[in-house]
Point group: C2
Chain length 354, copies 2
């Protein structure tokens, strides 16, 4: 139980019971042929990593070499860095590869060429495949570039070709379940076509974004999934109906420090250094976070939005509740728009409960 | 000198020579009657604090009790917390007030009432005055609320009334020098009217936002200024012409990890966990950071924008330079949109030079 009277400043709260439910729900629907390799960039902390361990999770994904080194120290030995390989971190990659089953992501033939020329004990090589998100990686139908990568990987003694890896981030920009599922299907069908085309090399396909993985039910033919955000979810996923409010595992408790009763606004200690400046559009307005509980005179389920954020201040518009119910010194509990960014900002300010 | 070959991952660079110039420029234009109380929330680090000390700065502003405790440990003994007093941090405020000339900011009579009832060794009490920014504080012409605060402060033995404090953040939303100066003049004239109206209590007026303080030349009648961002400046201030590029003291070096030559885009390791998600509008598009140098085959002055950011990835559109000049493994040097948020995110990843 949280002792609300002890909360002084913005405090990140993780509901470990919900974390367990979210992990179980995701694992339960994967067929035994599909490896669960959750992305650890969302939580990036040892407490949530320990919960994954309870479920027997040993294969993980990270987004930086720094994060790979951190989780290696925590005992994870099978780590894919799902980020275009950063050539400047070659020494750390080398160090990691000595005692880790390391997966590297190559997003262009130049990077394969350069890494191939460096001493590296051993790494699995994934080709980052762009199925339409247009961020990084090789377009799924640019066979010339793909083959250049495969050939160079296969020529290189210390690299072993693993297959094709994609992040279909397009689903983050879609609103409805139907559109998210359609986008996932399209992306996966492109990945499956590569698996077939290059069957001679026995490639695996690795996919995984939280909106897609949360809504999909059929994972046949997919070798690996790498969702991350699902462990906490957040207001962005809630808005897309990718999760229910009862599946949101991370919130922030913020003290009320000022109230403007004429403008129906309350000011909290809770700003861009706690929430980042990510927002979701809601009609013509923007929400930087959704208030779900008011811990003051009464404990209520509430439904208000942070309408603006500066460095340490957040302004909440009271549109549904009664501003007379709020007092300076009360606490509000807020679902962050993007839990990955909030978790990063709130490192070391975490309180677990349940 | 920076050894570019040693840079592996996103690295925050502070040009200490420019920091000194920015501090000197600001101090030189203040009359001797105006106290310089810079806001330390921008840098929030001991290295830049040490440079302020070189200039004899002993009065500082912070935005949280945590930050006040940090700078107290670094030897600063005259600290104003320019944030609505957080009643839940009463114990730490009490602790601080024992060995610090502490300034507290009251944004409503309720907070004065509550603090008045708590044991607190001694604090100066400022009334946060809203001159039109509409974030926190009492409206400058709400004399009833202001007088309630003054009376309660004056009845309270451990509080001494200091005067009126405002943050005219409206200037951050204005584009031209003329509009920024007009907004500053309006805000200051409201503050001066309060100083006159309540002359019997001998109040001071404390103002300070970087756009206003950087452009103003006349500080007569202002008792104290509290700019913060000016120490580093950033792309937001550059876009408003509040500073020149030669006054920007904080940049981030980011490795190039992927290149899409068809889309004229390069992907860097440098994302929302380094830059936050603050952006400036530039025509119909958004910039999440301005590239000013390319450290690769050649060292060029460049002028490109980060057009999108995810957690660790940044995508830069090459619109002015030649994409053929970029290679994976190169570095780009980027002016962040909002240096305060970047400095917070890059804590512990700082490299000083010059």
């Amino acid at each position: 139980m949280i002792k609300y009277s002890k909360i002084k400043s913005p405090t990140f709260v993780i509901n470990t019971e919900i974390v367990r439910e979210n992990i179980k729900t995701m694992m339960d629907k994967l067929p035994s042929t599909c490896v669960f390799r959750p992305h650890f960039k969302t939580h990036d902390n040892k407490e949530t990593a320990a919960i994954f361990k309870e479920f027997g999770v040993t294969h993980i994904t990270v987004s930086s070499v720094e994060m790979a080194l951190y989780f290696r120290l925590l005992g994870f030995k099978d780590i894919t860095v799902a980020f275009p390989v950063n050539l400047r971190e070659h020494r750390n990659l080398n160090k990691l590869s000595k005692n880790t089953k390391l997966g590297l992501t190559f997003s262009n033939p130049e990077s394969v060429n350069i890494i191939a020329g460096k001493p590296l004990i051993k790494a699995g090589a994934w080709i980052e495949t762009d199925t339409g998100y247009n961020r990084s990686g090789i377009a799924w139908d640019n066979y010339d570039q793909i083959e250049k990568c495969i050939n160079r990987i296969n020529e290189t003694k210390h690299l072993s070709f693993r297959g094709f890896l994609t992040h279909n981030g397009s689903t983050y920009n879609l609103i409805t379940k139907e559109d998210i599922l359609r986008s996932s299907e399209e992306s996966i069908s492109k990945m499956k076509s590569l698996k077939e085309k290059y069957a001679a090399y026995n490639p695996e396909i690795s996919v995984g974004d939280t909106p897609g993985c949360s809504l999909m039910t059929d994972f046949e033919g997919i070798d690996e999934v790498r969702p991350g955000n699902f462990v906490y979810y957040d207001f962005m996923q809630l808005e897309k109906k990718v999760c229910k409010v009862s599946s949101v595992a991370a919130t922030v408790l913020c003290p009320v420090v000022d109230i403007n009763r004429e403008r129906y606004e309350i000011v909290i200690h809770g700003g861009a250094v706690h929430f980042s400046k990510e927002f979701v559009k809601s009609g013509n307005s923007q929400s930087f976070g959704r208030v779900i509980k008011h811990i003051g005179k009464t404990v209520d389920e509430v439904d208000e939005d942070i309408i603006s954020l500066s460095q340490e201040h957040g302004v909440i518009k009271i549109e549904h509740g009664n501003i007379a119910d709020y007092s300076v010194g009360d606490l509000v509990e807020i679902i962050p728009v993007h839990s990955c960014l909030t978790a990063n900002l709130m490192k070391g300010k975490t309180l677990h409960y349940r």
